[in-house]
């Protein structure tokens, strides 16, 4: 399989990570245990070409580096934060033609791959400016698109996902479209199938979101491109292996995906009561990041701020929310605040990055998390 995609430096402040992966590099590593014919085409400045080759070729990945003027870094504060891209992407991109029977193409910052393939999977990798597969002259006899909800709605200019998918299928002459919906799973639209098939997400005990879409696309392409597996079954395998990756983001991934229980899809998106102290700047910042992350997951956020001396006062009334997320930062009040959150009678997820706080609340009936991204996802998967 030919993988055409970027290799970028990715840094994350918490949890602390520095990698040289990007969509192309991560997809190549995600397939290490599944196949031995991985051919990676990517862009990089010539002086740094060896850096890419030395990272992937010893693992059996064939690497072709196409010269590009600069190397990009994605800097994340946490895995659900929007990354800062350094330097600012240039509008003048390099166009490179690649040809193979089976191609997985990712959208890139520094260049664009014009694909000629018998079978191809395309992941545009942009929620702000996604580009259609054929816009640069790419062609494939069988094509599947893998996009998230935001990308397909922007590409199609439609708010309704099903309408957008049908429009994109016609416009791209695609055989299948996979629309990813974060913690809720994915919807698979296939040619000649009257209705989409739902593919669940598989809850994990922790979530490292950076690169999860790359692993999904790589596994989907591996399973779907040969033509023996339906797009829905390929997407289900992709969802399972993505769960393995987000829980333990190290390579190679297990050859056989871990057995997991699928997330149940509720009738509507959750409403989360976000409880946090109204104290220091750090608490306000954390509250904003948590709210933004929850909203990006499709959640309605109701905020409750705890003022000093008002521990446990409740601004929201019963029935207005499904889950409580409490952000704890003060060891002296953590237990009281958590007990107050439990009085709502709803499931409670507690986030604290202080081990002493997590220790203090461990006897209470809450899910305690020391990782923000994991805590936000747990609010979507916890039983209500």
């Amino acid at each position: 399989m030919l993988i055409a995609g970027g290799v970028y430096t990715e840094t994350c402040v918490t949890p602390a990570r520095v990698t040289l992966l990007g969509s192309g590099g991560r997809a190549a590593l995600a397939l290490l245990e599944l196949r031995d014919d991985i051919e990676l085409h990517t862009f990089h400045p010539s002086p740094l070409e060896q850096d890419v080759k030395l990272n992937f070729e010893p693992l059996g990945v064939s690497v072709t580096v196409h010269a590009a003027p600069c190397h990009y870094s994605f800097e994340y504060l946490h895995p659900l934060a929007r990354p800062r891209i350094v330097p600012l992407p240039n509008q003048d991109v390099v166009l490179v033609s690649v040809e193979a029977n089976e191609v997985l193409r990712f959208g890139c910052l520094e260049g664009d791959f014009r694909v000629t393939a018998k079978r191809a999977v395309y992941d545009p990798q942009s929620s702000t400016r996604p580009v259609a597969f054929g816009d640069n002259g790419s062609t494939a006899e069988r094509l599947a698109l893998v996009l998230n909800v935001g990308e397909i709605c922007r590409l199609a200019g439609e708010d309704d996902v099903a309408v957008a998918a049908m429009s994109m299928m016609r416009r791209n002459r695609a055989t299948a479209i996979v629309v990813k919906d974060g913690p809720f799973g994915a919807y698979v639209f296939e040619e000649k199938e009257p209705s989409p098939r739902y593919v669940p997400a598989y809850p994990t005990r922790s979530v490292y979101k950076i690169g999860s879409g790359d692993v999904f696309s790589a596994t989907f392409a591996h399973a779907w491109l040969p033509g023996a597996v339906s797009a829905a079954d390929a997407a289900d395998l992709a969802s399972r292996r993505t769960a393995d990756y987000v829980e333990s983001p190290a390579f190679p991934l297990p050859h056989v995906a871990t057995r997991r229980i699928a997330a149940s899809l509720g009738p509507s998106r959750r409403r989360v009561l976000l409880v946090s102290a109204r104290t220091a700047t750090s608490s306000r910042w954390l509250q904003e990041e948590a709210a933004k992350g929850l909203e990006d997951l499709g959640t309605t956020v109701i905020r409750e701020e705890i003022s000093p001396g008002q521990r446990g006062s409740h601004a929201a009334t019963e029935g207005e929310f499904d889950v409580v997320l409490i952000l704890l930062s003060d060891i002296n009040s953590a237990v009281a605040e958590t007990r107050a959150a439990l009085t709502h009678g709803k499931s409670v997820v507690a986030f604290a990055d202080d081990p002493a706080i997590l220790g203090a609340i461990q006897m209470l009936d809450v899910i305690a998390e020391d990782d923000l991204c994991s805590a936000l996802y747990r609010t979507q998967w916890i039983s209500t």
């Binding site: 430096t9 840094t11 602390a16 990570r17 520095v18 990698t19 040289l20 992966l21 590099g25 991560r26 590593l29 400045p45 002086p47 740094l48 060896q50 850096d51 080759k53 030395l54 990272n55 992937f56 070729e57 010893p58 693992l59 600069c70 190397h71 990009y72 870094s73 800097e75 350094v86 330097p87 829980e247 333990s248 983001p249 190290a250 390579f251 190679p252 297990p254």
Partner: protein
Amino acid sequence: MGGADSKPKKKVPGAGPGSGRDCPTRFTTIVTGPAEGITKGAWLDVRIDRSSGQPRVVLIDEVTNATVGSLAGVPNLAILIRCLEDGVTYRAIVDHVDGGRIDITVLQG
């Protein structure tokens, strides 16, 4: 090591890659292809393996002398390899073990 390298670093005379002055002194990363049985606090030697042609940075358990993993997806790996080839020594300590994910800190010296 790591961080944003949008362009090659300025060269200082006598301080090319591997000369010691731009060799990384400390960085954290995750072990690729970890063997079972790695424990938190274990010390690993960082060496170059050329058995498959391309140089590969491998991690050797200092007690058993067995290869327990390698480095991949790491920024500036070419510089690290040149430093190792020039005789700069590195060791790694296992910071955290969580299923198949092994976090290490690589230290010069």
